[in-house]
């Protein structure tokens, strides 16, 4: 709240510098469109964005899945998750909505994962849908028993990194290059990585909403109202 004027001037100077920088860029930037399209037939997919994410720049995505895991590990080590205070399981309207919505969300996530090879879509978009579905489940207080199975959740959260690292090792052995898929089978490897990443991304995004490691059963039962049962 102090020194407002100098900070305002600094921000305006930053804006002027950035505006000058973006406007003075050449009109036809030397993009990588041509390069990525030339190799597209060999990449195993026909959607150039998926080819970039999981073939040309696979390292990026491997590290990103690692960052996701680090973020949730960080959150889990900082806090205990809190279940929503209100139990919504006896609200008929919400439950009948979820009965329709949750399968549709899971189905749409699977569709986005599959279509990612040919059209816009992929593990991240699908993972966002799964994450949203998980947030609904958490809000409604469903599936608490599953969500208290620590080992299962940990395995699901780490699955993306584990499978990705496994594919790195196998492709290294098969072709001599890490994440350099054997000719003609790129699509299968990409689908394998994306399926594992989908589960981890969905779980990570959903569980971040809980804000910490799910509370254990005994702590949970003491916190909840006595009339509610799993």
């Amino acid at each position: 709240m102090i020194r407002r004027v100098p900070i305002g001037i600094l921000s305006l100077a930053l804006l002027a510098g950035l505006a000058w920088a973006v406007l003075s860029l050449p009109a036809t930037p030397t993009g990588l469109t041509a390069e990525s399209l030339v190799k597209l037939p060999e990449s195993g997919v026909t959607n150039p964005v998926t080819a970039v994410l999981l073939n040309y720049r696979g390292y990026d995505t491997l590290l990103e899945v690692g960052v996701l895991l680090l973020a949730i590990v960080g959150v889990w080590s900082l806090r205990r998750g809190e279940w929503p205070a209100v139990d919504l399981r006896d609200r008929p309207l919400l439950m009948s909505l979820l009965r329709v919505l949750l399968p549709v969300l899971v189905l749409a996530a699977g569709y986005l994962l599959w279509i990612g090879a040919f059209a816009p879509g992929g593990a991240f978009q699908a993972g966002a849908l799964l994450g949203g579905a998980l947030v609904l489940v958490l809000l409604a207080g469903l599936a608490r028993r599953v969500l208290q199975r620590d080992r299962l959740l940990r395995f699901g959260l780490a699955l993306g990194v584990l499978v990705f690292a496994g594919v790195c090792a196998v492709t290294k052995l098969l072709t001599g290059g890490m994440l350099q898929y054997p000719a003609g089978s790129g699509g299968k490897w990409i689908l394998l990585i994306e399926s594992a990443a989908l589960i981890s991304i969905g779980l990570t995004l959903g569980l971040l909403y809980l804000g910490g490691r799910p509370a254990l059963k005994q702590e949970d039962s003491s916190e909840r109202s006595p009339h509610a049962h799993d």
Partner: protein, 117 residues
């Protein structure tokens, strides 16, 4: 020169970044700072996508799209971690500001009081 359609997106990205930067420095509440970082990130994503969309070729440049896709997921997770950290700060100190900021504010308030008194 870049064509006008794209200039508006590039400028909007620069404006978002500057607004976010200003809030990041001026606001001391941690929640506002986390939001400021997100606004700055959105500005960067907008510039990336705008540059990718005017690259030569039959389709927009897929590389910036892939990088922004990566960036969005990372920024969501980083925000989650930052919120958990902010909550810890509040649990430990009872304040939603960092100790240094609070100190600076106190000193500034004290100085004002002294000069008045």
């Amino acid at each position: 020169m870049i064509e006008a359609d794209h200039r508006i997106f590039l400028l909007a990205g620069a404006v978002l970044f500057a607004i976010g930067f200003h809030s990041l420095v001026v606001q001391s509440h941690l929640l506002r700072r986390i939001m400021a970082l997100n606004v700055m990130g959105s500005g960067v994503f907008l510039v990336f996508i705008a540059l990718g969309s005017q690259a030569p070729g039959p389709v927009p440049d897929p590389v910036p799209q892939a990088m922004v896709l990566t960036g969005i997921v990372v920024s969501v997770c980083a925000t989650g971690l930052a919120l958990a950290l902010a909550d810890r700060v509040q649990a430990a100190t009872g304040k939603v500001e960092l100790e240094d900021d609070a100190q600076t504010h106190r000193n500034a308030t004290d100085a004002t009081k002294e000069s008045r008194g």
